[in-house]
Symmetry: C2
Subunit: 356 residues, 2 copies
Amino acid sequence: MEDSAHPKRPVTVADVAKAAKVSKATAARVLGGYGVVSVQIKDQVTAAAAALEYRPNELARSMSTGRSGIIGVVVGDIENAFFSLAVRGITDAARLAGFNVIIANSGEEIDAEKSAVDLLIGKRVDGLIVTPARCDRLDHLRHVRRAGVPLVLFDRAIPELDVDAVTGDDRDAALTATRYLIGQGHRRLAYVSAMDAEEGGITDIAGISNSAVRERVEGFVSALTEAGLPNPLHYIRLGATDQHQTHAVMRRLLSEISPPTALLASDSLVGLRVFKSLQSLGLSVPQDVSMISFLDADWTSVTVPPITIVDQHVYDLGKLAGERLVARIERTPLAVEHLRVTTSLVVRGSVATIGR
Amino acid sequence: MEDSAHPKRPVTVADVAKAAKVSKATAARVLGGYGVVSVQIKDQVTAAAAALEYRPNELARSMSTGRSGIIGVVVGDIENAFFSLAVRGITDAARLAGFNVIIANSGEEIDAEKSAVDLLIGKRVDGLIVTPARCDRLDHLRHVRRAGVPLVLFDRAIPELDVDAVTGDDRDAALTATRYLIGQGHRRLAYVSAMDAEEGGITDIAGISNSAVRERVEGFVSALTEAGLPNPLHYIRLGATDQHQTHAVMRRLLSEISPPTALLASDSLVGLRVFKSLQSLGLSVPQDVSMISFLDADWTSVTVPPITIVDQHVYDLGKLAGERLVARIERTPLAVEHLRVTTSLVVRGSVATIGR
DNA sequence: TGATATAAAGAGACCGGTCTCATGACATAT
DNA sequence: ATATGTCATGAGACCGGTCTCTTTATATCA
């Protein structure tokens, strides 16, 4: 009865004003915490507001101030530990500055990303953090700029966009990890990524539309090249998008005439799939195959052996992106930058020393 | 120059109307997709809108319609795989119905939860899904009801609140898992949870303020009782809130005169900590100690041995909560219900058969 | 005592949409 | 030819805040 009978129109400043016998403007001053009001009136209004259980309509507030207090975040896949940890970092930075976060998932699809961006702009977010699925379709991001909404790219940079980006130092990370593998005596190294497969393997590194993937491949290839190893592109495999695909990729890879002795997995999901795949093929790590995965995910420390990983300091990455965006929103004068967070190799037990 | 020089006031219906040489009302009809407009005028307005790159201000739209198209979700900890998977389920259900999701983290703290709820109500969300940190402080949730905002509780029920709840069948899950352990010959069983420790162990099950935790403990105790095992509360341990605490809890537990032979971990984070703790104590699973964890987390399938788990079908749980809330928002006539999603025991290798 | 400064409160425009109601044009019925 | 109805468009109120500008009351000074 009490709930359904009163669909109860929410209490507004006008209601509070009437109850406190003051003008709407005065009540608004108290409730909004601006302007000058006498102590007596202030108490009067506060009391009336409490009695009526007044809650400000943030929507209306945003309407007139033009600020929503919301930061929009478009990520590739929230379920991925990489993103959920990054979101934590972003959220913490945002909350510290008094902003809230609204999250949208693009599923790494450019159209979903586009509509998510449009939607958030429509909600008049104060700023936007986007993980661009591709670096070649930019209209929607250009539009964000033109709409005057601060934008920070996350995990992937797009130099031609002239906008801040926060990423790991992917090139260096791959370089370091690969050098380490080479240093342990490995000569045939594979790189496995979840990026959608192009036909017939990699031929054109510069053409990879995802900068994070591209930089990692570049680092990987550089390390092989500087070590004088032949055919650096030979063992690069894309398309490890799910367990089934990964398994297929792994079977093909390991049934080559000279199969690789070490694998570099492009992210923790791929790493997990690769590890499972090796298990089901009856291969043991690192005796039969060595591996390194990106990201310090849960699972990497409890396997036997624990997995050697490239720690991307994802939380910091997210926090930095959040802080950068806040600075932009607050119009702090800053040059456009590509901030790279250095990564660190955490050596555990998944890489064997061979050929000595 | 071009970006900074034009802080570029966003394009409004009025601007489009002027450009299309029609009234604001007519332009709004076309842009908002309501009312009746002749085809000719419609094209005219559409063209003008495209030329000006008009984007509707969803805030203003929400103001006048009273609907924001947003569902608010307050979770305990987004970083926890349980919640991030649930959020995926919620988000999918929401998007299917045309809603967006805004996520807030309570950190399982009642005050943070309170302010998150207030904030979301302020943003005029169309509905709210909350994981209540406690079942005894309810003012803010009562207020949600009074404000006329549909509410669905997630993972934990509060019967006295007369509101929908979607949870796993925690009692049954714990009962089944415990019975299984007993069936494998275990007689000394421990239950380890991350809930804040009360002094001196558990004495009053009915007093546990988190219904999910309470039901699991009840199920655990029921199974022990029906098997005629003595002292069912003896090995229940709370306070496994981080790796350090968990380690302390485990040391104490396993240095008892008759230590437990099997452990039930209340969630996947606790499970992971327990597993790591066992590793560092040099104990092997299941030879030295058997264990079962809640939630089919990543790590549980790649350990040696893989962990026997209680699968809570979390994605479905989230999806169901999302669907239920959408139904409420759309005023589908439904009785208030506590929906329980049945769980299933996935037997892998972390439980030994003993004493035969 | 009157002039002026200053603090506090009120009146009402505004943000950008939605939506009701009024108006005008044209077609059909009488 | 006049009345009636329908359809497309225009005018303007409204949502619930913020904020500028104006008015009123009180204090300060010559």
